[in-house]
Symmetry: C3
Subunit: 451 residues, 3 copies
């Protein structure tokens, strides 16, 4: 295999970035709240204070989400002993490309001004672009160490495209609620990555087994990723929730759910080892499962103890996933999942979809109030006659759409990535930064010493 990417990588980066510039030139403009005509908009709409600009409602949440995407996902994947440059660097690269493409794709489907044909963007679009890219970064976790940056860029191009269509079907056509993206982001991204990993299965991956593990320092670095994801997950689930009580409630629910996940993750991790020692892999990942599983229902009236129950169960299931399901998937289904995204994203994402469907189906005016029910589920206009139980059914349908896009899309994209032109590493060079990064000789010698 030829891992020389000196032509491929620059060509892809330049081509795509130039394409972005052209497409943004043709399509993308500021929306009314970020355009300099905003003072006129204020007068037209009787807005008396700049605080009503959506920027002030959403910017703090946006920044938290932004940290999750670049530091959270990036550092979570630094746990491998010799793949930290690639983890944080490729994460940086594909997220930077993905957010641009996402603004376009999501814009065409969701923010197109019908009169001018332009995509009008504001802070909510930036949050949604970050969300969209999260799906691709989840998929990255499954193939971490086994693909080239060029493959990752291709995977992101198609991933964002699929995401935008899937999201449009689920959120717009089916009018499913999924503010934190259990289905749209996590289930889709998880199964997209797992399917690609299946297609790219390497029977001789054990040849780089000596690099497939952590060292002490890399595990501490990964905890930076874990904690920033964990701390800011309330912002993730509330970032695009309804102004006021919706955002407020989504934060409370996610905060509680995640706290419960930590305790049950620790419990199962300790139980799983002979002398009760804890496993860093579980602590780094399964503690986050509660956030994923409350992605859909965070803004609903699940009640505080409901959030705790979801976190309780997901901590258990996710940790058991690392202990039992991941080895099973690798051995029996030939799905090798470097970061265990099945346990952190795919499975909790499905649970999240189910929790959302049940909670929506049982919503009622007593719990929400008349206006609260309308605001929370957006049941206005031609949807005003949709009942909560019908909404629950649509929510369930959303799960299927996310799954289908993930698996079918992953199979097709996996096929494309098998073409022998992308510069992917040989089996004995997987999980090694040296293939794609300048690493000093003393570092390499030192690594060989400690191994």
């Amino acid at each position: 295999l030829n891992t020389n990417i000196r032509i491929k990588l620059p060509v892809v980066c330049f081509t795509w970035q130039i394409a972005m510039i052209i497409l943004f030139g043709v399509f993308v403009r500021y929306d009314s709240e970020s355009d300099a005509h905003w003072p006129e908009t204020m007068i037209q709409n009787n807005i008396t204070s700049n605080t009503e600009n959506d920027f002030y409602y959403r910017y703090p949440s946006f920044q938290d989400v932004h940290v999750m995407i670049f530091v959270g996902f990036g550092f979570l994947m630094t746990f491998l002993k010799r793949y930290s440059f690639s983890a944080v660097g490729f994460n940086f690269l594909i997220a930077s490309f993905g957010i641009q493409w996402a603004l376009l794709m999501q814009g065409w489907f969701g923010s197109l001004d019908p009169s001018t044909g332009k995509i009008l963007i504001g802070v909510e679009n930036l949050i949604n672009a970050d969300f969209c890219v999260a799906g691709c970064l989840i998929a990255f976790g499954a193939v971490l160490g086994k693909v080239s940056p060029v493959q990752l860029l291709v995977m992101t191009l198609f991933g964002v495209t699929l995401f935008a269509v899937e999201e449009y079907i689920i959120l717009e056509l089916l009018h499913v609620k999924d503010a934190g993206g259990s289905m749209v982001i996590h289930a889709f991204g998880g199964y997209y990555g797992l399917t690609i990993s299946r297609v790219l299965y390497r029977p001789r991956i054990h040849q780089s087994k000596h690099l497939q593990g952590s060292v002490y320092q890399s595990d501490v670095f990964a905890m930076i990723g874990t904690l920033f994801l964990w701390m800011f997950w309330p912002s993730f689930n509330s970032a695009i929730a309804y102004h006021g009580d919706g955002q407020h409630r989504a934060v409370i629910n996610t905060y509680l759910c995640l706290a419960a996940s930590v305790l049950t993750t620790v419990a199962i991790s300790s139980l799983s080892q002979k002398t009760g020692k804890l496993d860093m892999v579980h602590i780094q990942n399964s503690t986050l499962a509660g956030g994923v599983a409350l992605g859909t229902a965070a803004e609903f009236m699940v009640s505080p103890y409901g959030a705790l129950i979801v976190g309780f169960l997901c901590g258990i299931l996710s940790t058991m996933g690392y202990i039992f399901i991941s080895p099973f998937l690798e051995k029996n289904l030939k799905i090798h999942d470097t970061c265990g995204i099945h346990n952190l994203h795919a499975m909790p994402g499905l649970i999240g979809g189910i929790v959302g469907a049940i909670t929506a189906a049982t919503a009622n005016e007593l719990d929400y109030g008349k206006q609260g029910l309308i605001n929370t589920f957006g049941l206005t206009g031609k949807l005003q006659s949709r009942s909560p139980s019908t909404q629950g059914g649509y929510q369930a349908a959303g799960i299927c759409v996310a799954l289908a896009f993930g698996i079918v899309g992953g199979a097709i994209v996996g096929g494309i990535l098998r073409l022998p032109i992308w510069g992917d590493p040989a089996d004995e060079n997987c999980y090694d930064d040296e293939v794609y990064w300048e690493v000093s000789t003393t570092d390499t010698q030192h690594l060989h010493y400690i191994l």
Copy 2:
């Protein structure tokens, strides 16, 4: 000693998490600003904009505090060469448990709806729960490396309980102001931890002396903790201050105070060494003392230069604490204080209480304005006749309450923790992650090499 915690740890985690679910089910509901009935509340209270929802006043501060609790405290304690997993991992565990128990305890004392008997929670409760847990994490610093995670959970259970009672007495019964918790959080947490450490004194701790120090990388990791604590301390001290000028002023004061601490810490650290070299322990800890010492007075009109003076003095005292007081406490009082919490929290917390008492006693209408004085000290209702000098007296009383709860509570809890059932490490295994964590063999060999 048997450090096998395979049964103990899971049993405690599961029992407590299930108890939390049941108690939350019985007691905890959303408050009016996070409940879906908020649109009705808006109409009833003539609120015209969602921006008036407390969420938008407090959420950015909450997230900063959240980062301090999980990344700040967690990483600050990673400085030991072989205890980073435990530092960041146990910090994560006990904070996640503690915030749940704190919502209940603080709720019973402070947010109980009298008509329904329910605790109604919103973003301010989340901040207060984080604050409460901070007290226990401070105490963790004194015993770092010498206790088991089960002991830490027990310490947190009692710590949160004591905190809630102490806080109720100080803030509600005595109506003392302590927005940044100099007394309530830092003095209490500091003396609670120091007393426990005294009770658990190990005469043969020197047997693990080879692990009681830092290595180069662990010191850099610890600086992540230091900096996130330092940068976000203005949010800590302002998070629950009065809307508007109160929050604004608390930020300015804390910002200035911390900046002055850095310069005097560097000065004393340099003076203390033969050739003027700086000591990382001082830089990691004493630079933060100013934030602690302004916890009470941050929202008062201490004036900018007043804040600088507090920071100036605390940087000096805290650094000298590391040089002179910590060795004295260990040798003469048998108080071993792994992180030096006496110098960073206990002593500056007392200073903060005193600064607060003096500033309150000298408050007047000229400096504050009539309404400003009422808002800042909350002197409404039956307190409207309380004079500033009386308030100063109550503030001083608050210091005594915090101290008493810390010392008496610590003595009792320390006694409980001495029971030989908690799986604590042997003297020769202190400060070693290998007791409670899976660590790879190559890592262990490498550590032995570099020692």
Copy 3:
């Protein structure tokens, strides 16, 4: 050379901190929004909601900028194998001093209450102080590893002074717009540092060549700095932009520009190596160039694709700067630039000034609206007749002022720093923490082993 700083460093720290306390006592007071008289101010100005307090508009941005200054700049410079303590510790020291001096200097020039002669401070002053210090931290990057902390404090004292004058001339006298500081911060700070480095040129610096490079872990630490700078740069460029659409637009533009920089940086980095491997130095630095280059124009109507074009070009230029210009500067002009601030700050800062001048000159009522044009460029009062093209001319003049202050100021300060009294390291001890920090013997042995 005598690197004993046991007297010098404490004397400087104490003297300056005491001076700060006195000057703050004489000059600095709370402004109307942070003073306890705010309730009266609200009544006088018919302000009905606390949300109108500038604190709520600016505090989230301030905290992001604060993280950039202390974690961003600090960790970005930890890339050297044996200089991480100094990078993050000296950054902490000089920023903490600098922000105090900046509040005074900027206050005298910009926030002086004419009736009382007092400087009135609020959250915007804190942001501006952080901005001012950024200029000095940029300059620190050029001399990293080659100067003593005493020299750094001197450099910061003069740097802040020069900055405040330069800023006053550019922003107030010339009424140039530069919200994100392309000229005022980056071009000034860059040329200030480069000129100082030229004056302090060490012909025998190669004697410590073995320490002038990174190791694996230090490169990962540096990525923490890179990412926090990159993620929060939208806050940097929008922090003091006009409320409402101005802040909103500055965020969108910076977000896009930075994303484009990442792709072209990766492309050029890969092209520059034989087998297309990526260089960590480029990824750590050049990915940020877009943020610098949009500092002036971020709040203007550059349009989304315009922002992408700026990022596209700056990623290329900055990376090529590392490959071609830095070696040239060192060899031919004797300018040794440890962090490559020429490529990350100085050059992109100039580009940013030019982009701003062109964008301002071509502004028109069609794009901005009548009120939008006035708000964005602040063309009120006696400036109301200034045309956009005139404004463009003034913007261009601003670039020259920044350059002149950087170069002339740097030459003078460099001369002062050459005095043989500051305790700077010998040529063979550059880039070594052991000169100024207590480092354990095992660490030193370990370093020698891996080298």
